[in-house]
Point group: C2
Chain length 209, copies 2
């Protein structure tokens, strides 16, 4: 193994996401990653700074994406919104552990440096979406909606669906009460996307019929 530090971040992301920060021990992590327990202190300084490293390393991936929508889909706010929804659905679906860590850290607000990194990351993405929305409003294509609430609605909906669907049969059958066939992740993903696009269309678009 070459990149032991990177591998530790990878394994830690998975374990912290699955069992929580306090619920994961250094020894469990070291064993899972196949390294000596002293390596965590050696590479990161402390367990706390390891979370920090996860947030900062993995978080960068999501930082620049939304900004890149701007040149691609030029001057069509609605197309951009669709892309944003698609991006967030995929992001939450593909990085459940990372998302668990992020939102748990926000909720607990114990490790202040971590919370600071997250706040910066979130604020960046939020203001990008806000910009798209306000662009559409000023272009006369979108209604004058409550922008922060709209953003929170999108993220909150996706989180709620993807978090709950992993859980017990009772809630699972709630999603698919009649059909007995297995509900796959991609089915859920498509359904959330379709729902949100429909919701945003009615919430956002000015009807000119």
């Amino acid at each position: 193994m070459q990149d032991k530090r990177g591998h530790l971040i990878e394994v830690a992301e998975q374990l912290f996401g699955q069992y929580g920060f306090e619920g994961t021990s250094i020894r469990q992590l070291a064993k899972e990653a196949g390294v000596n327990i002293a390596m965590i202190s050696y590479y990161f300084g402390s367990k706390e700074k390891l979370v920090q490293a996860i947030i900062e390393t993995k978080g960068q991936r999501f930082q620049n994406y939304i900004r890149d929508l701007d040149p691609v889909e030029n001057a069509d706010p609605w197309r951009k919104i669709e892309k944003v929804i698609e991006f967030y659905v995929n992001m939450f679906s593909n990085n459940p552990h990372f998302q668990s860590i992020v939102f748990r850290e926000v909720a607990l607000a114990q490790r202040s440096e971590v919370a600071e990194s997250i706040a910066k990351m979130v604020a960046g993405n939020m203001s990008a979406i806000r910009q798209i929305l306000e662009e559409g409003i000023q272009a006369g294509v979108f209604r004058q909606v409550d922008v922060p609430m709209t953003v929170a609605m999108m993220v909150g909906t996706i989180r709620q669906i993807l978090q709950y669907r992993r859980i017990s049969d009772q809630v699972l059958t709630f999603f698919e009460p009649d059909s007995s066939e297995k509900v796959t992740e991609s089915m859920i993903r498509d359904r959330v996307y379709a729902f949100l696009v429909d919701l945003f269309r009615q919430h956002l678009l000015i009807r000119n019929t």
Copy 2:
């Protein structure tokens, strides 16, 4: 102090909500509650069974409420929906610690008995809302929406707003970028309610203009 068991549940709810299950020690809890550490095992058997007791004791409050909407606001689905939104906004706002515990337990899915209790509680409330929605659909007042997604959207939005607003200045200023005055809990509560009512109106109601 008379009801030491009840008081322990009260304090444990606050601490588990604030610091998480693994992040709260028995000694910290005992100290905060002003009882001997042996009392937790004495009353509940174990730390794990204490969470179970919290969920079951506090959870009952929310079980029967929605069912009671039925006789009160008879035969007006939209009025019921407004009431449901109001109820959920208040519930999440007034019981942040309880909600933190519930959703963290769902996300971690470590303690299976706890998850089972929660699933039962959630399933009960969900099916009540589902019934209201389907009533409205069959009465021809509501559009034929994706019911589970709609419910998840409501809950997810409220959670997202109330959870994030407790956090750092950067996200707070996102909510109120221009005004410098303090954002109060009740302001947020009113704003989420107004947003959701507006959203549901467009999402749900069939326009007969």
